[in-house]
């Protein structure tokens, strides 16, 4: 065995004056960083195992712990960054593809941070959401059906199937398997209380969660895991997953270690086997095939449910979206390159796809240019980090946003980006019963409700400031946005003016 060149990323700092050797840190760390030496009566740490999830720091009763980035650095090199060198060491060691999780952490432009929102001054009044109605209800679905009347001229108020949301946000797809039962329960209960929807992801639906069906989007992905008639009928909508922002162009891989008995039942695959979704749907090699799947699903559910087609934001997204809008789909979900994942090849996560802001702007403009924007609703995610991002996305043209990473953060995730190990100390991205019980769904769902409620309040405040009292009037209202520090081409694609113009 050669020398392991991979040195610890973090230092575990323990204040001996504070440490009472209660060994909480040792019990809490699934990675086995902390240990107790009986002879020396000392807490020890193996920093090499630390992922900086902050679990021990948070639970240390005397605040004796801190995790810092290791001060041990290799010789600085602007070209050969230390992260690249480490990855080479790892690959020379293993011969494998590098794996990562959660969204792209690289220093790439975040356009939301370069967009500013308008407010009313003098020429029209701002509206106070505490004193006037402020409406955030959204309907997702087709709006292009002809108006029909009875023989005596009354309108027949029938529409294509719609999803009604109390606020322009939904929880994005995260499969049972990639996240825990308790995490799913928290999402489902929060969606029900909030009047929004959560999404099963490609892992099927646990039998306990069928009761939340009115607030459930059921996903049909390339592996078709857990898809059967009752499953399709359980959803308020059906989502065909063509791609995911964190890993456009490739499928999924849930390691056998996460396929416990319940997960195996929900997915309808044997316990302990790897769940591998193919890169493409093998019945969809082109747009006309997508249309067939859309209508197969509609046939199977008697045209009562909207069908969502979820795609990753890639270079040709505007043309792809136009194709989807003509495929019979009711809703297009677009996932940006910063979207999260439970596991993805690092090179794919960090180098494939485009920013959601640009993808959204070009899709919305393209569908309007083609006169088909009202054939579909647009939902965007990857990544929506705050209520301000939601407002900006809607003003760029989205009907609603998909929230996933922010929801996991609300449940306690600390973005240590180690989901692929299955040893999530916060009980979210794991199936280890010792770990999953750390997430209490009674508390988790409440925190999700709090987060979305808070965001919705902030959305109302921002809308009121603009003199807008209904979210419909914000959709695609790009005059409400200005760019700062963006070049002409970026402004052109976003369809917004520069600040000061």
């Amino acid at each position: 065995m050669s020398i392991n060149y991979v040195l610890p990323l973090f230092d575990v700092l323990r204040d001996p004056a504070r440490c009472i050797k209660c060994r909480v840190c040792e019990r809490q760390c699934a990675n086995g960083v902390h240990s107790y030496d009986h002879e020396l009566n000392l807490m020890l740490a193996d920093e090499a195992k630390c992922v900086n999830c902050q679990r021990c720091v948070t639970l240390c009763p005397t605040r004796a712990l801190a995790i810092r980035e290791s001060e041990n650095k290799m010789r600085a090199n602007a070209n050969w960054r230390e992260s690249l060198i480490r990855e080479i060491y790892k690959q020379a060691d293993s011969g494998g593809v590098l794996l990562s999780s959660m969204g792209n952490p690289e220093d790439m432009p975040v356009y939301f941070d370069k967009i500013l929102i308008n407010a009313s001054q003098v020429t029209n009044p701002s509206i106070d959401p505490l004193r006037e109605p402020m409406e955030t209800r959204v309907f997702l679905g087709k709006k292009n059906t002809p108006i029909k009347r009875t023989p005596d001229g009354r309108i027949i108020p029938e529409t294509e199937p719609q999803l009604e949301l109390s606020m322009p946000m939904m929880f994005s797809a995260m499969s049972y398997g990639s996240i825990s039962y308790n995490a799913h329960e928290s999402l489902a209960r929060a969606a029900e209380e909030l009047g929004i929807l959560y999404n099963t992801g490609e892992g099927g639906l646990h039998q306990d969660f069928y009761k939340y069906s009115a607030n459930t989007i059921v996903q049909v992905a390339s592996g078709r895991f857990g898809v059967h008639k009752a499953y399709l009928e359980a959803g308020a909508a059906i989502e065909i997953k063509m791609g995911q922002g964190a890993k456009p162009g490739i499928g999924g891989h849930l390691p056998g270690s996460k396929i416990t008995s319940d997960v195996s039942r929900a997915r309808m695959i044997p316990e302990g086997t790897d769940a591998i979704s193919p890169a493409p749907h093998h019945d969809i090699y082109s747009i006309e095939d997508l249309r067939q799947l859309v209508f197969s699903l509609k046939e199977a559910t008697e045209y009562k449910k909207p069908v969502i087609v979820k795609v990753a934001a890639v270079h040709n997204i505007a043309a792809i979206a136009s194709g989807i809008a003509r495929s019979g789909a009711d809703i297009i979900a677009i996932d940006g390159f910063r979207g999260g994942t439970g596991a993805a090849p690092t090179r794919t996560r960090d180098n494939v796809g485009i920013p959601i802001e640009l993808a959204l702007a070009s899709v919305d403009s393209r569908l309007r240019d083609e006169g088909i924007r009202d054939h579909v609703s647009i939902v965007v995610g990857g990544s929506i980090r705050s209520s301000a991002d939601v407002v900006k996305a809607i003003a760029l043209g989205a009907d609603a946003c998909y929230i996933a990473t922010a929801a996991l953060l609300a449940l306690g995730c600390h973005l240590c980006r180690s989901c692929q190990t299955g040893r999530c100390n916060w009980g979210i991205a794991t199936q280890d019963p010792e770990l999953t019980k750390r997430l209490n769904p009674d508390i988790g769902y409440r925190r999700l409700v709090n987060l979305m409620t808070a965001w919705n309040h902030e959305i109302m405040e921002l809308m009121g400031g603009m003199g807008i009292n209904s979210i419909e009037a914000l959709k695609g209202n790009r005059l409400m946005l200005r760019g700062v520090g963006l070049n002409e081409k970026e402004l052109e694609i976003l369809g917004i003016k520069h600040a000061g113009e």
Partner: protein, 363 residues
């Protein structure tokens, strides 16, 4: 400085309207007088009027009122009109000299009928054919601007105070059963005549007071259906929305009101089950045509008039009726100027459309 249309200019305003349900005619100076008492609601940078029933002699023909910056624009436009229409009569619109009205463009009027063969070839209905021609001229012929295109109606507008604009266009010499008026208070303007109001397409004319916060959402939606918002004004987009919903989607003005000034969800929840379903249908189907922010509008159309406030009633607007004559204005004083002894002036609720029509439809 950018011209109107290249930049969006917010403005405050005064509006007024008078309508005889019996089809009795008023001369234009009645409405001009009403505007004088709301002088301070304008700043001299725009005024205008729309009269209905004023061209009885040519009532089967479309009356096109056009501003030209120069004679070459006129030549180009007339060539285009010749290719699309039979021009029955053309003339300068008569004006009188008013000191405060400056930078006067060439102002021409054409009474036209669509060319039969061209219309048949286009496979469009007549109104769509005319509307497309108007939009084509306004968006592609530099220096030409069609500001009125209905039958038996006409828009008169300029840069100036409304009362001066009324005298300039000799409105005392026109008679009509319905008049609307507008005085403008733009926050900045290069003073382009086309930017004044009313804004009109075919028979629909709109005068509007307010600055809608939904503008770009509305504009980007309505432009999907062939409209081009060349002026970037609220009034323009409202006119197109009304034209789209009434002419292209077959909705009534009451139904249109339920879309553009939709009731709040809390109000809808209190309606009967059938009404609730209908309001929900409108909000679900036409979300991008909801207009938010302050507005009061008067829509003139063939044989009728509609007054409507935004759903929060963020702009003043009062109405009154006496002896089968309907009055509407931003301020009560303007109504009292037209009908001094009127006693039933009232203020419609936000989102409540007030629609009046001729009692006899033969007018």
């Amino acid at each position: 400085m950018l011209k109107e249309g290249q930049v969006r200019i917010p403005s405050g305003c005064a509006i007024a309207g008078i309508f005889s349900k019996d089809g009795k005619n008023f001369t234009g100076d009645v409405i001009v007088d009403a505007m004088t008492v709301m002088h301070d609601r304008s700043n001299g940078l725009g005024g205008g009027f729309a009269g209905y029933g004023i061209y009885n002699q040519y009532k089967e023909l479309y009356a096109l009122h056009v501003f030209y910056d120069n004679t070459s624009a006129k030549e180009e436009c007339e060539k285009y009109l010749d290719s699309k229409f039979e021009i029955v009569n053309l003339s300068k619109i008569p004006t009188r000299k008013v000191d405060s009205i400056k930078d006067v463009p060439l102002i021409w009027r054409y009474f036209v009928a669509p060319d039969h063969n061209k219309l048949a070839d286009s496979q469009l209905d007549e109104k769509e054919y005319v509307a497309r021609a108007v939009i084509r001229i306004n968006s592609t012929i530099e220096g030409a601007y069609v500001f009125s295109s209905g039958k038996n109606m006409g828009v008169f507008k300029a840069v100036g105070y409304p009362e001066d604009v009324g005298r300039f266009f000799c409105l005392d010499e026109y008679e009509g059963y319905s008049w609307t008026a507008h005085g403008r208070y733009p926050t900045n303007t290069p003073g382009w005549w086309g930017g004044s109001h009313p804004f009109a397409l075919l028979e629909y004319s709109v005068v509007h007071n307010g600055e809608i916060s939904s503008y770009d959402a509305n504009r980007r939606f309505i432009e999907m259906f062939g409209y081009r918002c060349t002026l970037q004004t609220d009034t323009e987009v409202i006119t197109y929305i009304i034209d789209y919903l009434v002419r292209k989607r077959g909705l009534t003005l009451d139904e249109v009101s339920s879309i553009i000034a939709a009731p709040f969800w809390s109000t809808i929840a209190k309606k009967t089950e059938d009404e609730e379903k209908l309001f929900l249908y409108f909000r679900c189907m036409f979300p991008s045509l909801l207009i938010t922010g302050p507005f009061s509008i008067i829509v003139g159309f063939d044989g009728g008039m509609m007054a409507l406030n935004d759903r929060l009633k963020l702009r003043s607007m009062v109405v009154a009726e006496k002896d089968n004559t309907f009055y509407v204005a931003s301020e009560e004083c303007a109504i009292r100027k037209m009908a001094p002894d009127i006693d039933n002036i009232w203020s419609p609720a936000g989102g409540q459309p007030i629609i009046v029509r001729l009692n006899c439809e033969d007018k």
